[in-house]
């Protein structure tokens, strides 16, 4: 039997490290100014700071512009629903996935802030976010792959102002950005992977177009990139 204690519980989201991360405010000044990296496909950058410390948290952001409202029968507007997902791998075996049906990885280190079904104003704000607390990722997870899917089936050509990006969550610095719209007749993109390298983490931009409704359709396409 399952307890239902969550029912009466206010929406509390907390991981252990959320509290320890408070110290990041103090570090902020000492961290050197970093130049935004314009990623090209396959390029790898280390998520290691200039002063040698590791990045502790990254966020994948996904934003797009909602389909324009039609006049009389507004409810028949063909909504655009893009979904961000993160798949956690241990030595090429998928262990866990964070997407709109499973918003928090079992270990609590990867969190999806919630499904957006229609998109936003298209002015550069993230409509879906996935937060990764790299310090809390379980020891056997060595790669996290971020993907974008068009759940409603429009290709990226048909979506206005769509982009996905990877952000250093501790200071808001953008690490990589892809513009999705006009990118061809694809419905999915395997965006980037964050993987362990030495003691820290490294990010590799993948930017591989693909086809599929959810991350499950992408699994065969992801495997070559691991």
């Amino acid at each position: 039997m399952r307890t239902a204690p969550a029912a009466g519980r206010p929406g509390l989201r907390r991981v252990l490290v959320n509290r320890t991360r408070v110290t990041a405010a103090g570090e902020r000044q000492e961290r050197g100014q970093r130049v935004t990296v314009n990623m090209t496909k396959g390029q790898a950058i280390s998520l290691r700071k200039n002063d040698g410390g590791d990045l502790t948290a990254v966020r994948m952001g996904l934003g797009w512009q909602a389909a324009p409202r039609r006049g009389l029968f507004g409810s028949r507007t063909r909504e655009v629903d893009l979904d961000a997902s993160a798949v956690l791998f241990a030595e090429k075996q998928p262990i866990d996935v964070v997407f709109f049906r499973h918003l928090v990885s079992d270990d609590g280190s990867v969190r999806h802030t919630g499904d957006n079904l229609v998109g936003g104003a298209g002015q550069g704000g993230d409509d879906e976010s996935i937060l990764v607390d790299l310090q809390r990722v379980p020891v056997h997870i060595d790669q996290i792959v971020f993907t974008v899917n068009s759940f409603t089936g429009q290709t990226f050509q048909e979506v206005q102002n769509a982009f996905c990006r990877l952000v250093d969550e501790t200071n808001g610095q953008e690490l990589a950005r892809y513009t999705l719209d006009g990118g061809g007749r694809y419905t999915a993109q395997i965006m980037a992977k964050v993987h362990r390298a030495g003691g820290g983490w490294q990010m590799t931009a993948l930017g591989a177009p693909s086809e599929g409704r959810t991350f499950k359709d992408l699994m065969p396409a992801i495997l070559p990139h691991l």
Binding site: M1, R2, T3, A4, P5, A6, A7, G8, R9, P10, L12, R14, V15, L16, R19, T20, V22, T23, A25, G26, A90, E91, Q93, I95, D96, V104, D106, D107, G108, S109, R136, P138, V139, H140
Partner: protein, 667 residues
Amino acid sequence: MTAELVRGQNLPLPHTRLEVRVSAGAPVVCGATLADAEGRLSGAGQVVHPGAPRLPGVEVPGTAAMEHRLVLDLDALAPEAHRLTVLLALPGGGGDPGAPAHFGALAPPRLTVGVPDGDGIATYTLTGLDTESAVAALELYRRQGAWKVRAVGQGYADGLAAMLADQGLPPMTAGELAAAALAAAVPTAPPATAQPAATPLTPGPAVTGPPPPRTADGGSAAPTTAVPLDRATTDPAATGATARPPAAVPGATIDYSHPRRSTASRPAPAVERAAGTGPRPPAPASAPAPATAPAVPVAGDAAGWTMDERLYNQVWGMFEDLARTTAAYRSAIDFADSRREQELDRALADPRARIGSAGDAARAAGGARYEELSARARETLDRDLAQLTAESEAVEPALPPAYARWDHPVWLGYRPPAEPAMAVRLGDLRLPERPELRIPMLIRLPLERGLWIDSGRGGSAGSLMADATELRRLAAGTAALHAVRLLAAHPPGGCAAHLLDPGGSAASAFASLTAAGLVSAPPAQGAAGVTAVLDRLVRRVELVRMAVRGGATDALPPDIDLADQLLVVNDFPYGFDDRSVTRLRYLADEGPAVGVHLLLVADRADAAAYGPLLDPLWSALLRLTPVPDEHLADPWVGHAWTYEPPTAPAGGGALARVLGELGSTRR
């Protein structure tokens, strides 16, 4: 609503005529300083203390006491006074050897800023104090023409003199002033200075009279009953992971600080100081913790309007963290396991490797890789569990009665609450990775579903060991404990209990409740008793539901008791006919929404004759067991948690106190 401030938080004040109510676990001296815009005192005349208890706009009590009222009229303050600091100091720093010498030995003092004799605006509990004997508790300061209050909580181990010197007085003056203040406050002082406690500044009904008179004997008697739980008396090596306060003396105070942590690592309000907008006083006496050290857990470190809500959220946060960190560990171990299997299979699939040393080498390499990964996973787990254990040790002593274990000293001072508790503790939850780390199982009130104490053999090791009659006896005893806790979580008259024991088999378990007058009538026996009680409750549920739906709650018949009702049924379905079973199911389904709650003691096997008919009843109830059993799943990952039922406190002092208090309010 009264805001609960945390250290460093500030709040605008809507009034200038205010009262600061102080309550502490032992007599304390209360005073105030009036500093300029730079936060500095211009002279000894800017300090209001028992020896000089009055300045324009501020008046402090003249004696040390456990309860204080400071009367403030901020409009009447001198215009150059920009910052009014409310300070507390312990008089025991000087003369009386029995008095506590530092705040760590007391329950955390609590301050409420409010309108005189009226509602509170903000409250602040001074947690985390240790060797300090004086503390700057609150600050009221001018900010762009308006007044704000800030929770400061800056303690000084060197006492009042150090605090005054910190605010800019020359050390000599500060020392003399501190000595004078403390001398004037001890009860042997001439009555002329001890008398004018807090006479109202302004006439009128809104202002209270003097504080509760605290005479010489009252002031000095209290510390002798209080037992300071000094860390120095607690051998750190002797206290295990589940160390609990050596309690059980009535009036014992609780040490909120962590038993194994030195004071040096306690975080001072460094963040607040760095972020403060105005000029700050010089560095405080206690150095702030280095920023890299892991945060020392404190009780109430969560969001919420009240301390109870914060503790509730904190406990649930610990529950989630333990579930998730264990999930990460188990996932890593599973992965390491399956990888080792696969590698071995691969090695053995090659016929050449079966003979010779190659197979052994592959096996050894696989084993080494397994060990390496599992060691790293274990290290991470241990780090998180250590943090959670430390948090648990900080949180458990701070829990209010409704959340506390039965052996918690807070029960010894139990008084019925003024309003229903937010949640109750139904037991403890633990995982096999760290059995001694137990998370309180807190369930929100009002209960959303009934409770079922399973008196049958659920298949767990614990239930297989006990024989059937023993299990039934345990189940009835557990149910009685749950019933007492539920009643104790409600204000007087807020919850009425009914007892159905058709077989009379739980008479001894429920004897204490009956004797204390907690149940409206002696346990109803036989089928007729069952029918009568059920009919009454069903009628109540039906009428209240109809009234609520129709919006006519004022049209209820006068004999309807609108208090919550707790129906305790022992040995279900003995003594129930088909009609009664149907009525019970109705109560289980519809009762919780209108305040009728069910506590059922039953063995599902006894009801086997009903077939699947009763399955919805069982699944609608929250199953608890009288012996530890793994049957509860968390809502995040779905681990099987071992539920540990509450156990009656040794000696029964706490239970007797609760029953006595509850019974006396019912007579």
